[in-house]
Symmetry: C2
Subunit: 137 residues, 2 copies
Amino acid sequence: MSARKNVEETAHVHAPREAPCGPDEHAKRPKARKVSDRQIERAASIFRAVGDPSRLRLLERLSAGEWCVTELAEAAGTGLSTVSQQLKLLRAERIVTRRRAGKHIYYALADRHILDLVESAIAHADEDHRHDDHDDD
Amino acid sequence: MSARKNVEETAHVHAPREAPCGPDEHAKRPKARKVSDRQIERAASIFRAVGDPSRLRLLERLSAGEWCVTELAEAAGTGLSTVSQQLKLLRAERIVTRRRAGKHIYYALADRHILDLVESAIAHADEDHRHDDHDDD
DNA sequence: GCAATACTTCATCATCTATTGAAATGAGTG
DNA sequence: CACTCATTTCAATAGATGATGAAGTATTGC
């Protein structure tokens, strides 16, 4: 991403306007980015991690408490290795934690933030999937 | 996804245990899924949409108010068409709304939920990117 | 140590995604 | 209606991602 940045520069010859759109209150835009690239990347990375049905389902399960990989795989109906990979990704993002107990490894949600995130998203999706298609302009 | 589901079935011959992990309190697991597949898909879909740095940056900008496509493209430093595609996706997920004003089309965040989501994620990422790597087992 | 169980890593592959230039559409203006 | 500006759609392409079986590591018990 951000391969080239002067695409529309070549399109118009005269100098580009400061704010080409602003009707009136849009005249002075704060163009400085409030948030660093690093933070954006990190936040997006977390979202991407939970933005997958299988992984989200995993998190939903974990919201009920600790589970080991075998259990999770059984509940998900997919291979062990699949679930392990998914958990690996979630762990890399610090969304889940694991603890060893003998031969088993128990996974759990990393913190309450994640729980809130998952629950609120599901709640939002719940509201949402009823009035399914409409347009807004 | 969910191509085949009986992978580990072939691995062990004897009947699979109900709860192969549970030390004691994990004996009786509520295996029923609390949330429908549809909801999970929808929630994941929203997360996936915001789980991209470019789109998240777009949303960050929109959290400051309405912007038109030209402005957003200029601020992002990418092509117009790129931004348009990104907005199209966000709109398909009902994350942003648009309104026409003459030749311009102004985009805005769809609701306060989204604003909260974006802001809390960025806040979380802010906490997070300081203590960058550590392990948890 | 050896077998068994629990889990992870590796390599592969099909599928999905993001970005892009070019061409198309839509809205305002003379 | 021709012209311009704003935005979208199209098609192609490079790159990312997710699932999977096989092979590897770790822990327990004999």
